[in-house]
Symmetry: C2
């Protein structure tokens, strides 16, 4: 830190005049919360805020906004972050704060004006077929003062024509950023290369492209590298890869790879003693069922249920149950042959 | 199997007349043995042989050949596979069998003629500076009837000129294949692209190029994909990614990705109930210390020791101890700027 990142010294002594301009979004609390029903202790979230701020992370996604009708009875406070709680763990800083809203789970009446909240960015999670309604919600949130990003989920299930159609719609919207979302961990690096180019070609130059990647086939970090090589603007990551099922792109690997003086991996490494014990009980990370649903381009819910059962290691029967229907499954239709 | 793999039906119904011609080498017993001192029960090795054979794996690496002076007192039988043991767990089949020999740890007098052994392939593990002596050993083994492959380890610590030099030497040898070995898990996919091209450019057309990849930064499988895209001939993998430290490229992910009718992932999935419980105690897989040594392009021994200590989760102090010397470390010198 303290260095001007546009003139910096590489580890091998070469002088560079420009680093990649990639923003890092940490979604440990929001997406990692899928593993513990958003039941993080307040002091852990406060430590995470300070750690991410110290690490030079650009955006911290600190939970969801979820209207009462859509909350589960066991959901913790980070499923619908109360403003007073937010102000106990975070403050105005150089790091921006975001929350996510799922389409259909946030009523616009429940969203306070941005000037009354520490939240800067609202990320709306939607499927392709809901993009028109998501744009309506986005424009309402923009009226309230938020910057709005759209995460179009499960894009591996869309045809190229469907992707073209929602990108054309979003190009004519006020949405500030659109994320490529590998909900099922089905993507290989070449899919990121294809999609980052497609998204950038369709969207306006002032709209950013992000990538949110799951690790079902152990490709999340390598997919992030491919996206970065293609000029992606925002990469999502989580501390120690925390996330549903196989988890996400690990923030510590991403920051070391970027090797950018704007970032400092050490405060993230300071968080690992807090998160690693959670992994022992919440058990995110690669297992064979996640690899199988990822490869089959299916939602990981069956794999998550399998891992919670006594049959977690019985990989063949799990594969055969799912692969039986494989011919009916659109297998990565997004990629032209 | 029963299908002719040159005219086959893809899952999406497309007819292709040619699949990639990638051979798969499983090294679960040999490299996975680094986690348990090669103490696999005989019936597990026998089941692994049958499973890999059923899966259409091309080569099974079933242990080491190690002369008595180089064996550890706790090393199990797969550290120096006795022929009579080998014949109890394996047989002549369409799957070839290999063992590895470390340079300096196998005296040629201890190597029986190939016609007296089930072993077809001897893979010699060497560092770049020992390549001339490794070629001498290789030629002696070839005289005894073996096909010999060379695994030049830790190539991430070599300069491009050093790589050129050993490839020039190997081009003029009788070595049948040369593997790109990412001993430290330091490589990203672009390193594989660079090295597969370099190795193929230097070697004769009749010499094969392999890739042996470690998962310290969760890139082993994605690195395999990059190597395959560049035309690599042999990919090493292990069941469930078993291997020292962060482990290897998982065989089940590789076979699903290749999606080649020559292979059948199901017999490998049948082995997972045998291997997954070992992972609970032997603990291979990603952890922050492995990511740190991988990124720093250092041998994982410090990370393995760290993971065996009470400080396993104290990632920052581990990083600081190693990164202190970072400026003295050749950081991936193999890649020209």
């Amino acid at each position: 830190m303290g260095l001007d990142y546009r003139v910096s010294c590489c580890p091998d002594g070469l002088m560079t005049d420009r680093r990649r301009d990639v923003a890092v979004l940490d979604c440990t609390i929001r997406d990692g919360g899928c593993t513990n029903a958003w039941q993080f202790p307040e002091d852990l979230v406060a430590s995470t805020f300070e750690g991410l701020l110290g690490a030079g992370v650009d955006i911290m996604e600190i939970g969801y906004f979820t209207s009462a009708h859509a909350r589960g009875e066991h959901d913790g406070p980070w499923r619908n972050v109360p403003e007073e709680l937010l102000r106990r763990v975070a403050r105005e800083s150089d790091m921006r704060l975001s929350v996510m809203a799922d389409m259909g789970r946030l009523d616009i009446e429940d969203l306070r004006p941005a000037e009354d909240s520490l939240i800067d960015v609202l990320r709306i999670a939607t499927y392709a077929h809901d993009v028109p309604d998501a744009v309506t919600l986005a424009h309402q949130a923009i009226e309230l003062g938020y910057e709005v990003h759209l995460n179009v989920m499960a894009v591996t299930r869309n045809t190229p024509q469907e992707v073209d159609a929602f990108l054309a719609r979003l190009r004519d919207s006020q949405v500030a950023a659109v994320s490529i979302v590998d909900s099922f961990g089905a993507m290989y690096p070449h899919h990121l290369r294809y999609l980052v180019r497609k998204y950038k070609n369709w969207l306006r130059p002032d709209q950013l492209v992000g990538a949110h990647l799951h690790n079902n086939q152990q490709t999340a970090f390598a997919n992030a590298i491919a996206a970065i090589d293609e000029g992606v603007d925002i990469i999502d990551a989580t501390v120690y890869g925390m996330g549903r099922g196989a988890g996400n792109c690990p923030l510590e690997l991403l920051l070391m790879y970027l090797d950018d003086p704007r970032h400092d991996v050490r405060p993230v490494l300071d968080l690992i003693p807090r998160y690693a014990p959670l992994k022992d009980t919440l058990r995110w990370g690669y297992s064979a069922p996640y690899g199988i649903t990822g490869w089959l381009n299916q939602h990981p819910r069956t794999a998550i249920a399998r891992m919670a059962s006594d049959l977690r290691n019985e990989a063949r029967s799990f594969y055969e149950e799912l692969a039986e229907h494989r011919e009916n499954t659109p297998h990565l239709p997004l990629t032209e042959p």
